[in-house]
């Protein structure tokens, strides 16, 4: 009996080894993303965009394993361990939230895995903590806020009231805005993370004599703020990063969002062949408009596919060099990586408009051209 087991085990091992070499071109990708709970909309969009690209590539040798992290860091770590150790994935991707990325990415890249981030871009992974195996295809967290600060100068706002939740990404946001903005601050407020009532802050805005408002309140917080702001009668111009005005959220905010200026590295009306095809095929397959998260998922998949054409995923060094070339057609048009494997890209200002009955965004112009994050100089990579 024992002999039989040994024989079978060695047979299995041999077939695995053979299978492994026969599939050298292929790859196993592990996607950890948020598919349940309040933040699920973002993860669903990233997943759908990603899978659309994989499907369009028509490659049978690329396998994607998808798991839900429920927006919990401890769960994300468990899933990453499982994917690396028992599922033997080559590449990890998918995480939406910076705190989850910080829990998973450093240990995954230390184990020699490639990580391609379709969303979270914490500053800790862009500066001194950058890694040759970590790529961010979306943005460094500060980027969209910096673009809004630059826009505030162009719009000649001189007394802006700024607010964000009191957690690392919120502090990054206000720092990013202040890095580019040259006017005065009418007020700077940190709200409680997850707060749903902004009456007190709106009263402060009214009282502050500000000429404009900048806010970073992702997800439901932004929906609550915009509705309450509209009902309060304060009519100062509002601006923010795209996260509070993406396609998944606009429907819930309603007309209160009309006319709001927001910054994004992607918009559905960027006119290039890849983007037009992406918007049309996404709409056809999922029966809704894509959001910036969906475009990031789509770009992440195409980036990985482009590298698979050039190098064997088992050869980590060659593969990450192939990734760094960023030789794929991005939905954003021009796209390249900086020394720290974060994007150098244009960032646009958009306005919320109504097309028929549907609220969506329209590009007004460029806020920043070929923009690179402020942390790249601290990164030792070339």
């Amino acid at each position: 009996m024992k002999t039989l087991k040994t024989i079978m085990a060695s047979a299995v091992a041999m077939s695995l080894a053979l299978g492994g070499s026969a599939m050298a071109e292929g790859a196993k990708i592990g996607m950890i993303t948020t598919l349940s709970g309040g933040g699920a909309g973002l993860g669903v969009d990233v997943r759908d965009g990603f899978m659309l690209a994989i499907e369009q590539a028509g490659r049978d040798d690329v396998e994607v394993v998808i798991e839900d992290d429920a927006q919990k860091p401890e769960l994300a770590v468990q899933i990453a361990d499982k994917m690396i150790q028992s599922e033997k994935v080559d590449i990890l991707t998918g995480i939406i939230w910076s705190n989850l990325a910080m829990a998973v990415v450093p240990s995954a890249v230390a184990q020699g895995k490639i990580y391609v981030s379709p969303n979270a871009g914490p500053s800790a992974l862009a500066g001194k903590g950058c890694n040759a195996n970590y790529f961010n295809v979306a943005w460094q967290n500060d980027n969209l806020h910096e673009a809004m600060g630059a826009y505030a100068n162009v719009a000649e706002y001189t007394n802006t009231f700024i607010l964000a939740p009191n957690y690392p990404a919120g502090q990054d946001a206000l720092n990013g805005f202040k890095r580019e903005y040259r006017g005065q601050l009418a007020g700077e407020v940190f709200t409680k993370l997850g707060a749903t009532d902004y009456a007190a802050e709106i009263a402060q805005i009214r009282d502050s004599g500000a000429d404009s408002v900048f806010f970073f309140l992702p997800g439901g917080m932004g929906i609550a703020f915009m509705k309450q702001y509209a009902a309060s009668g304060v009519d100062l111009p509002v601006m923010g990063p795209a996260f509070s005005f993406d396609q998944g959220i606009l429907g819930a905010v309603g007309d209160a969002a009309l006319g709001v200026r927001n910054s994004s590295q992607w918009s559905k009306d960027i006119d290039n062949e890849t983007n037009n095809a992406f918007v049309a095929s996404f709409q056809e397959k999922y029966d809704r408009l894509p959001s910036l998260y969906a475009s990031q998922g789509f770009d992440a998949a195409n980036l990985i596919l482009s590298a698979l054409d050039k190098a064997d995923v088992k050869d980590t060094e060659a593969f990450s060099a192939a990734l760094k070339e960023a030789d794929f057609k991005s939905t954003r048009g021009d796209f390249k990586f900086g020394n720290n494997n974060h994007p150098i890209q244009d960032i646009y200002v958009r306005e919320v408009v109504k097309e028929g009955d549907v609220l969506t965004n329209k590009i007004l112009g460029l806020a920043l051209t070929d923009h690179q994050d402020a942390y790249a100089v601290d990164c030792p990579l070339q």
Partner: protein, 306 residues
């Protein structure tokens, strides 16, 4: 800070407190009468908001949505009581917490399966959507004033229900000695179902009201649930009057803390540090309040056993 701003913030605090009361009233009733810790109370809040948003979207009427929220949450309450909660009365609190926590997960994901992952649209009815001008020329959201008014009416209604009706007498009797009223021929099972349904309907109603100025999304009930627990602990578990006092206290302290603490620390710190310390401490303010009250009144402000 100007007097108008202070007054506006007090009004904001009152409005926040009134909303908390709608949640806390149901929670304290269920805990007081049935001795049950119901973590799924926040899910009933969510069910109310989703029912209101769905019906308002289908019919175009916020008011029909509001009715639907009460009916849907009340009905869900009856089902939950009959199929799950009823088995838990004789078990200890840990079992109740486990079972009702499971209900949160089931209801949240159920909601997501039915309505999708994206937040729903729900807005206040047209004539309440804008601001109104109060005395002294200061503007205040009409909808928030309406919430204060409705919350006050609900509090009055509950007071009359508990003190003036036969059902109220039974509820109070059930709180005092459940075996005795069962012995006196009151159908305790039906009474519990009714109490649970009332609590659920109140939570659903609160969810619909708040849904119009917040985001209607999965998991929206849990943050409110935590605050509602703080309120009933401060107010005295089982007491509606305590819940009212507790919720207004929490609403006002939280609002004023958010507004005044960063300014206070700015007196002796630079602005950036003051903002972050102020924000951190203000999110603790209600828990500090709870701790202080419990030191002096371990059973809460209004104690039933006194």
């Amino acid at each position: 800070m100007s007097t108008t701003l202070l007054f506006e913030q007090l009004l904001n605090g009152l409005q926040y407190g009134v909303t908390l009361f709608l949640m806390a009233a149901g929670l304290t009733l269920v805990f007081g009468v049935m001795g049950l810790i119901n973590l799924a109370h926040g899910s009933l809040y969510m069910i109310g908001a989703f029912a209101c948003a769905a019906v308002a979207a289908a019919t175009g009427s916020f008011w029909l949505g509001l009715v639907a929220s009460i009916v849907a949450a009340g009905f869900a309450g009856v089902l939950i009581e009959m199929f799950v909660i009823r088995r838990l009365y004789d078990r200890d609190h840990l079992d109740q917490v486990l079972a009702t926590f499971a209900l949160i997960l089931i209801l949240s994901e159920g909601c997501r399966m039915v309505f999708g992952s994206f937040p729903l649209y729900l807005d206040a009815p047209g004539f309440l959507a804008g601001p109104v001008t109060l005395f002294g020329g200061f503007q205040y959201s009409a909808y928030r004033l309406a919430i204060i008014l409705v919350g006050g009416l609900v509090a009055l209604g509950l007071y009359l229900l508990i003190t003036k009706t036969r059902l109220g007498i039974r509820i109070r009797a059930g709180e005092a000695d459940r075996e005795m009223i069962a012995a006196l021929g009151v159908n305790i099972a039906t009474l519990y179902t009714i109490v649970f349904a009332i609590g659920a309907a109140l939570a659903g109603f609160a969810g619909a009201m708040m849904g119009a100025i917040q985001s209607v999304q999965v998991g929206m009930g849990e943050p409110v649930l935590i605050l509602a627990f703080v309120v009933i602990v401060i107010g005295g578990i089982g007491s509606i009057k305590g819940a009212l006092i507790g919720s207004i206290l929490v609403g006002v302290v939280d609002t004023l803390g958010r507004v005044t603490l960063p300014g206070f620390f700015n007196l002796f710190m630079d602005t950036a540090a003051a903002n972050s310390v102020g924000a951190a401490l203000s999110s603790m303010s209600i828990y500090v309040l709870m701790a202080v009250i419990l030191i002096f009144k371990p059973e809460g402000l209004v104690s039933n056993n006194a």
